[in-house]
């Protein structure tokens, strides 16, 4: 069984509620760090981060460049920057071209997560009106990481999860309210195995 080390979540239109549903239902000792990309306007103040921090047991923050990626934290890509994951478990930022009309782009973060963490990523794609994230899911799948999409019927805008399903044979299609419990199970299994080893 894979030793997962990172959760990567992407969301666009309707993402705020979907992210709130997930982040507010994760265990306090949720084992994996979370990297999140929500499409926002370039000049946004990113109050989303403060809002979600209120509802989550985890510490929700905007990612800083070179910051270490640690458990119990949710790191959001800053407005107008792409967020990259490094092999040494830190973040980098870039202002390179928009991808799928977006900066931050979900594809950019997912692809960098695949390249850095290989098969040890749990990729989750949520509601949105964009095509962003599908290629990222494809790369995660290619690296044998786990791919989960929100069941399009439960998405406030189904375009984005649908685009991913068309491109990749994803591992799981889950209704929104099932995603957090599923992640909690993975986290507890991970913690249990760690205890056995230790």
């Amino acid at each position: 069984m894979t030793n997962y080390e990172l959760v990567a979540i992407g969301a666009s239109a309707g993402g705020m509620n979907a992210l709130k549903e997930i982040l507010s239902n994760l265990d306090r000792d949720f084992a994996f760090p979370i990297v999140a990309v929500q499409h926002v306007a370039p000049d946004s103040e990113n109050y989303l981060v403060e809002y979600l921090d209120e509802y989550s047991n985890l510490s929700v923050r905007e990612a800083s460049e070179k910051q270490s990626i640690l458990p119990y934290h949710v790191y959001f890509a800053p407005p107008n920057y792409h967020l990259l994951v490094e092999e040494d478990k830190t973040f980098s930022l870039t202002v390179s071209e928009k991808v799928n009309y977006s900066r931050p782009s979900i594809d950019v973060s997912f692809e960098s997560a695949a390249l850095a963490y290989k098969e040890r990523v749990i990729g989750i794609l949520l509601t949105g009106a964009s095509q962003d994230g599908a290629k990222g899911m494809q790369m995660l799948h290619g690296f044998k990481s786990m791919t989960i999409v929100q069941e399009p019927k439960t998405a406030s805008v189904p375009v984005m999860p649908k685009a991913a399903i068309e491109l990749v044979t994803v591992d799981y299609k889950l209704p929104l309210e099932k995603i957090a419990p599923f992640l909690n199970t993975l986290s507890r299994t991970h913690a249990g195995r760690k205890e056995q080893k230790g």
Binding site: P78, L84, E87, L93, T94, V95, E97, S112, L115, K144
Partner: protein, 283 residues
């Protein structure tokens, strides 16, 4: 062309290290301390677009075709920029920095990593509006000669003009942006009086040293591509290039706090990441 399954089998990190070493040994361009994730993305992007099958094949091509090296150089540097990018930065410059610079008999500014020059002309316009252009010289440098050629021409597409006009206004612009350029078809050309106050030249932050002492350094969204070691080097370079109480403006998500020279600077404006070099640190 390479697919995801093949990619997963590649020794990407090792191959990239070898490629960067080859580039350094052959051409002296040192990308070894750049963000790995950034380079990986750019290299794989090139790999997907071209008919090269692997990073090691790319290494062979780089070593034998200098013109391919120029392409790689352009791939590695991010040249996304716009007039008055992040208008609040220019507003702060206007309100809090230029009044300080005004007190000097002449002003020298270094814009490091100037790319295609949009932000250099933005600063020149700002100086003009504050009545300081005539006593200012701006040194604008980049490590990529291709973008410098564009910058020197002072010509830009009208495509983003609306956005530029909006940025200019938000940055505290006193007139109209169109006061400063001539429009010819799909191109605008900035008035030659700006170009006269700017010296464009090649300078590499990674390998070159201090070339002059200045009152203000602007270097935005360049440090984010460097690892901590290289950031340290560059911040020291800036420190050494600034006159007493000189000013440093970096990207809004960048910081000098982690650097060994962090203590040698204090904030003028924290949100806009504008610092002043503390006096008494010239050991």
């Amino acid at each position: 062309m390479i697919n995801n399954q093949d990619l997963a089998q590649e020794n990407i990190s090792i191959d990239i290290k070898l490629l960067l070493e080859a580039i350094y040994l052959k051409y002296g361009h040192d990308f070894r301390n750049y963000s790995q994730a950034h380079l990986k993305r750019r290299i794989l992007h090139r790999l997907m677009l071209s008919n090269i099958n692997s990073i090691s094949e790319m290494q062979y091509k780089v070593l034998h075709e200098p013109e391919f090296m120029q392409e790689i150089l352009t791939d590695f540097s991010i040249n996304v920029t716009e007039m008055f990018r992040d208008p609040a930065f220019y507003l702060t410059m206007r309100k809090d920095v230029l009044p300080v610079l005004r007190t000097y008999p002449y002003i020298k500014i270094w814009h490091a990593g100037c790319s295609t020059g949009e932000e250099v002309y933005s600063m020149a316009i700002l100086l003009e509006e504050e009545g300081l252009l005539d006593k200012t010289l701006i040194y604008a440098t980049d490590n990529n000669e291709t973008v410098l050629k564009v910058a020197k021409k002072a010509e830009y597409s009208t495509e983003n003009l609306k956005n530029y006009q909006k940025n200019y206004e938000k940055g505290g612009g006193k007139g109209k942006l169109s006061d400063y350029y001539e429009e010819k078809g799909s191109v605008i050309k900035f008035d030659p009086r700006f170009r006269k106050r700017i010296v464009f030249s090649e300078h590499n932050l990674v390998t070159d040293n201090v070339f002059t002492e200045v009152h203000l350094i602007i270097c935005r969204n360049v440090l984010i591509y460097f690892n901590r070691n290289l950031q340290n080097r560059v911040i020291k370079l800036f420190h050494d290039s600034l006159m007493k109480e000189g000013v440093l403006g970096i990207g809004s998500k960048e910081s000098v706090d982690y650097s060994r020279y962090g203590d040698a600077f204090e904030y003028i404006n924290k949100n806009q990441k504008i610092y002043i070099k503390k006096s008494g640190n010239d050991e």
